[in-house]
């Protein structure tokens, strides 16, 4: 694994206006991280924490409000300069696989055309035969056969549709793929098939992933490093094993303890840290530390100022005022 950073995100912000008021939803509020070439970076958090928005903002599927995104040494978004950078050359290198394999495929297009559309846009073939060959080889890569190219999405099961979605992303030979909850909608037995496929493709094609999911056990399985998001902020970031077995932030700890363990003896013996209440609205986030309303360690300081996101150990970042108490 090369040490070079493929993607660097600095202080990324994505605000959305609230209809009928002057308020904004701070969906992503100052997120910074980097992804090395060839690695998988996992982003976990509960619904509404901004993980999907982060993924989309990086690809500029929504125009970020502020911050900076650097891809392979090229600035592809800079909120300060306000320059409009043409994304088309980068679209060939950065792709996305969506969560819902039912909603993300056009029901009126054949699978062949869905996969071929990207080839059309980027003019990646000279003859029709070449286009067809490419589509068939892409379908083969994801475990489908040539006969599937003429069928429509409704003829496929959820797992097969997700394979089509992956073939579409691979069509342009990308280096980097944002995987936005790609297995959440699938049955357990099919999840493992798709997760393994992502891993095999990574080995074969040298891909870099941003893997977004709410299921910590899947994220832990596939990722080299993990960032935990809460209400628009990354609260903790470290290597996967470090994060799971030496977590620092109280939110990360409660997330880990809430993962249902498929082993009755361990499950009965383990003590769950049950968080009180719900995630606050991102329209009116709490002052200071966003997590303080549900945090068992919250103090006055947490309400007054937001904790800085600091490197506590080499490669292990955390944003909390009470790290001394926690360790």
């Amino acid at each position: 694994m090369a040490e070079k950073n493929l993607l660097e995100v600095q202080d990324l912000k994505q605000y959305f206006p609230v209809a009928g008021s002057r308020k904004v939803v701070k969906a992503v509020d100052g997120v910074s991280f980097f992804i090395r070439k060839g690695e998988t970076f996992g982003l976990v958090g509960e619904s509404g924490c901004g993980k999907t928005t982060t993924g989309r903002a990086i690809l500029r599927l929504t125009e970020p409000t502020g911050g900076k995104v650097i891809y392979d040494g090229n600035v592809i978004f800079d909120g300060a300069s306000g320059k409009n950078i043409d994304m088309l050359p980068f679209r060939r290198r950065m792709q996305i696989v969506f969560q819902d394999p039912y909603a993300s495929l056009d029901p009126r297009m054949t699978v062949g055309d869905i996969v071929g559309e990207a080839l059309d846009i980027h003019k990646l073939y000279k003859t029709k035969q070449e286009r067809r060959d490419r589509i068939i080889s892409l379908l083969a890569t994801v475990g489908l056969n040539s006969e599937h190219a003429n069928r429509y999405p409704h003829e496929f099961s959820g797992g097969q549709r997700q394979r089509v979605g992956i073939a579409r992303a691979l069509a342009v030979d990308p280096e980097f793929i944002v995987c936005d909850e790609p297995v959440s909608a699938l049955d357990v037995s099919i999840q493992a098939q798709v997760v393994n496929m992502f891993e095999e493709l990574q080995d074969k094609l040298g891909l870099t992933y941003l893997f977004i999911a709410h299921d910590l056990s899947v994220v832990n399985h596939i990722s080299d490093r993990i960032g935990v998001m809460y209400l628009g902020h990354i609260v903790e970031m470290a290597d996967s094993d470090e994060l799971i077995f030496h977590s620092m932030h109280p939110y990360t700890r409660s997330l880990i303890s809430a993962v249902p363990i498929a082993d009755p003896k361990i499950a009965r013996a383990s003590q769950r840290i049950i968080l009180q209440g719900d995630v606050p609205s991102p329209v009116d986030p709490p002052s200071g530390c966003a997590f303080r309303t549900r945090c068992p360690y919250a103090s006055e300081k947490c309400a007054a100022e937001a904790p800085a996101f600091t490197e506590v150990k080499p490669g292990h970042y955390c944003a909390c005022h009470h790290l001394d108490k926690l360790n």
Binding site: V188, S189, F245, A262
Partner: protein
């Protein structure tokens, strides 16, 4: 024999008659459950886990019909009752919570209204009495400021709160059986933990039986006494929770357990998926339904359905590989 069981389903067969043909959703399903027991039904979508549980409430879609076997609940023969008769039981002796708390509450009525509806329908409590009971129930499911909440509408509550309200409605008449159909699938992990904790607590307090339908083995591990593993409309393995997890016999159960990430282990191990696609229920295979995806498939598996092999009084599987009493 039937009297000691709260739920006694014997050889139930249920089919849906669709324009494309008959879909045999349940095929010889037998479940016996005592009072206060927690039964987990696991399986993938379309395996018949919800259909089984719904048939205990007499809830089958219009085109669905029980074509064989008997369904008995709390002394009632559900399969022989009319809709009108079942209605008296539904919501009173057995109630249900659904997966999606967003769509299972009526958006134009207040929370209080919807809880009172169940109370007024099945008990002789009226007016103020019913209102007080609604508040009491909200308190029971851990909702703060219940007096204020009864006047609120579903959209004013978060997902976790709505699921608590659903539970309050389900518990309004202190049912003997609560069917929970994927109660936490739509919720975030931290909220899921809250709801599971609440269900455990309420079970201990009220002593009702629970049927927990889920595809998440982690959820059943911590809550259930017994587990039924379903595949293509059949119970392929049934047993105590520990038997299912530590001594699985059916290849499908083994496959399921292998295919989930081992979260609590530090070493990385590759997931072993179950290859292939789920069964097309319109054209099920002739023999064992799992045969096309099974690594250990033999000739006989393709032509004949395997019978039950018992490993102890409770634990059985339907697989050709096992000989009686054998370990493999």
């Amino acid at each position: 024999m039937s009297e000691q069981y709260l739920v006694n389903i014997q050889h139930e067969k249920l089919s849906f008659f669709t324009p494309a043909g008959e879909v045999k959703a349940l095929n010889d399903v037998t479940i016996q459950m005592k009072e206060g027991e927690v039964l987990g039904i696991v399986g993938e979508s379309g395996s018949g886990k919800s259909v089984t549980a719904y048939s205990i409430m007499g809830l089958t879609a219009d085109n669905g019909k029980i074509v064989g076997g008997t369904v008995e609940f709390n002394g009632h023969r559900i399969d022989q009752m009319t809709e009108k008769e079942v209605r008296k039981i539904r919501g009173k002796e057995v109630s249900i919570i659904f997966q999606d708390p967003m769509t299972s509450l009526n958006p134009v009525y207040t929370i209080g209204n919807q809880i009172e509806e169940a109370i007024k329908l099945h008990t002789d409590k009226k007016g103020k009495e019913a209102k007080d009971r609604a508040v009491e129930l909200l308190k029971l499911v851990g909702i703060n400021e219940p007096e204020k909440r009864v006047k609120q509408y579903p959209h004013e509550l978060s997902g976790g709160m709505r699921q608590r309200v659903m539970i309050a409605i389900a518990l309004a008449c202190e049912p003997k059986l609560l069917i929970a159909d994927e109660p936490t699938t739509a919720l975030d992990v931290t909220i899921q933990a809250q709801i599971l904790e609440l269900m455990q607590e309420l079970k201990n307090k009220l002593g009702m039986g629970i049927i927990l339908i889920t595809h998440d083995l982690g959820v059943v591990a911590s809550m259930c006494d017994r587990i039924a593993v379903m595949y293509a409309g059949e119970i392929v393995e049934y047993g105590d929770t520990d038997d299912i997890f530590y001594n699985p016999q059916h290849e499908y159960t083994k496959g399921l357990l292998r295919s989930i990430p081992k979260f609590h282990e530090q070493e990385y191990s590759k997931l072993i998926p179950i290859e292939g696609q789920p069964v097309d229920m319109l054209n099920p295979p002739a023999g064992c339904p799992f045969a096309p995806r099974c690594d250990s498939c033999m000739k006989v598996c393709l032509s004949a359905k395997p019978g039950k092999t018992y490993f102890n009084d409770v634990h059985y599987s339907r697989c050709w590989i096992q000989k009686k009493g054998g370990n493999n």
